[in-house]
């Protein structure tokens, strides 16, 4: 963990070498999802609600997912652009160092400018939280934080899977974007508004349901029973990272036997 922060500090220094570019990108990143959010706003202004979800309820979901996604993009960027490492042959260097491949790839790149986007997620989240008539309790706040953490783990898992694909094919990386960016777009809304199979896929295969729909039911007091279960669903989402790491190890093994 200490090493991870060392990596972070050296890359922050690197990015600060290009200061103007850093600030412009950060500001840009703040405004990018703004247009998406504006779209959301006008949608609700026209239709009022989607399947019984009000604007602020969806905005809460939007805020959680965007915060999780921007944190992931910032700190797990190494896996996001992992194909570069394979193409340039620098992954060999990773294998020559006495640390796990996971921590090294994680530390190979940070995208601090994504924190601009994080700020926007925070604003939307707070705005929604204040406008919803939720009786905030300690448990609810814990659940909300767990939702964000769980989201980070799930996005990290997807990034790791996408990166693993690079060991077999570089061209296939576009397919992986369906799950990273596509997953993000879809999970900005409560999952039960979609067709059954999409809901199922994003609950049981990639457990986004554990981040938005299920715990959201608890936050909004829509659960009749078993609310402890709904509260803890984000923890299940976190477990998603485990099989992803297993697949990653398989990928590394494949790379070491083929060298490409």
């Amino acid at each position: 963990m200490k090493l991870y922060f060392k990596y972070m500090s050296i890359l922050l220094k690197s990015q600060m070498q290009y200061r103007a570019s850093f600030w412009l990108l950060s500001i840009g990143q703040f405004f990018v999802p703004f247009s998406v959010f504006a779209g959301l706003y006008f949608l609700f202004e026209r239709f009022g609600s989607i399947r019984g979800w009000s604007f602020f309820e969806v905005a809460l979901c939007f805020g959680v997912i965007n915060m999780a996604f921007s944190i992931t993009e910032c700190f797990v960027r190494g896996f996001d652009i992992f194909s570069n490492l394979v193409v340039s042959g620098d992954f060999d260097r990773v294998l020559l160092r006495p640390r796990s491949t996971f921590i090294q790839v994680l530390g190979s790149q940070f995208e601090f400018t994504r924190l601009g986007r994080l700020l926007q997620g925070v604003i939307v989240l707070v705005w929604a939280a204040v406008n919803l008539s939720i009786r905030w309790t300690v448990f609810k706040i814990i659940t909300l934080i767990l939702m964000i953490i769980s989201g980070i783990f799930i996005f990290t898992g997807i990034f790791v899977l996408a990166a693993t694909l690079c060991f077999w094919t570089i061209q296939g990386i576009e397919v992986a974007n369906i799950f990273t960016y596509g997953g993000k777009e879809i999970s900005q809304y409560p999952l039960n508004i979609y067709k059954k199979w999409i809901t199922r896929f994003f609950t049981f295969i990639i457990p986004f349901g554990c981040v938005n729909y299920l715990p959201l039911m608890y936050l909004l007091d829509r659960t009749q029973y078993n609310y402890h279960f709904y509260m803890l669903t984000p923890l299940i989402g976190i477990l998603f990272i485990i099989p992803c790491l297993g697949v990653w190890e398989m990928g590394v093994k494949h790379y070491r036997s083929t060298g490409s």
Binding site: L3, L95, L96, P98, G259
Partner: protein, 332 residues
């Protein structure tokens, strides 16, 4: 006991067959044909502590593959390999802690920050104790003359300066073995000499085993007491450089300068079999000596009866020519 033991290593790669044309390109999305390339065939050798071994061979002969296997990046198809008592691909982490690797064509330093920051990060990656780190750093800064450049970002360094920093980076954790993959590629004469000098020093003072691959035969001449030649995935020669010269060099050239002498010298006046005259002027004679049995003193004493010798130079066949000949001999 040898430090590096490699025996019977085989490695094959599957290479996707590329074909031209749009139809073929579309087809290759769904189905690909593969060619099998045998990169290494029964490669065996041992290296003792403190040796400097030059690992040479034409492009694509299997040098990089060998280096990748013994440094723990690649897993071979079969064969055994023990380095410092460990199997590189089975115990990757403890293995790489004891080796240093420099790729001449790639950097291991962080591009945008001062060299010293990269070194500090490497200290954490390798978990080098503070004291050992400081000692090594002092030694490296001294011997590689890094004082003036250690606070400069890597991207602003010249290739020669960068290579010195790369060498430093690979030795911070006091490895017992150093793999150098074309360490002098693209360097100017001065930097080349500095790099060679450093490799010699570190080998002598810290008893670091060095395996280096290169296409520059003067590197080998300056550094390696032993060469391994690989061609078509097989080790075809393993021995020292002088033996190689003895076996393959066919002739020497002798150039003799003398005081002006007017009557021409021909093969008959010289009268030594195996020595022939390449050119002759009034002040200079160029001889070709075939084979190794001829004594230089015979030639000189014969000539000194005829002319007043001013200067003599002996040129062996350039080592590059030897290597080309060697490649041809083994059809690689």
């Amino acid at each position: 006991m040898p430090q590096i033991e490699v025996s019977g290593i085989y490695k094959t790669f599957k290479v996707a067959r590329r074909s031209s044309g749009l139809r073929q390109a579309v087809k290759s999305l769904f189905y690909r044909e593969y060619d099998t390339v045998e990169a290494l065939k029964d490669v065996s050798f041992t290296v003792d502590t403190g040796e400097i071994v030059g690992y040479i061979g034409p492009n694509g002969a299997g040098k990089s593959t060998t280096i990748k296997i013994i440094s723990g990046i690649l897993v071979p198809d079969r064969g055994k390999c023990t380095i410092l008592g460990r199997v590189p691909w089975k115990e990757r982490i403890s293995h790489v802690r004891n080796i240093g690797v420099v790729f001449g064509q790639r950097t291991q330093l962080w591009w945008d920050v001062p060299v010293i920051d990269s070194y500090e990060l490497l200290r954490d990656i390798y978990k080098i104790p503070r004291r050992e780190y400081m000692n090594n750093l002092d030694l490296l800064v001294d011997t590689l003359d890094l004082k003036g450049i250690i606070n400069t970002p890597v991207r602003q360094l010249s290739l020669g300066q960068r290579m010195r920093c790369e060498l430093g980076a690979s030795l911070l954790h006091s490895p017992g073995i150093l793999f150098l993959d074309e360490p002098t590629i693209g360097l100017d004469a001065e930097s080349k000499i500095a790099v060679r000098q450093f490799i010699k020093t570190i080998n002598r003072e810290k008893n670091v085993t060095v395996i280096l691959t290169t296409h520059d035969m003067s590197d080998i001449e300056a550094l390696a007491n032993r060469i391994l030649l690989i061609g078509n995935g097989r080790i075809v020669y393993d021995g020292n450089l002088n033996d190689l010269k003895g076996r393959f060099s066919t002739h020497k050239t002798i150039i003799i300068n003398f005081r002006e002498y007017n009557s021409p010298i021909d093969d008959k006046t010289l009268g030594i079999p195996g020595v022939s005259i390449v050119s002759c002027s009034q002040e200079k004679l160029t001889l070709r000596v075939d084979g190794n049995g001829i004594l230089l003193t015979d030639i000189i004493s014969r000539l000194s009866n005829i002319v007043d010798i001013v200067d003599i130079s002996v040129e062996s066949q350039p080592i590059d020519e030897l290597i080309v000949k060697l490649y041809r001999e083994y059809v690689i």
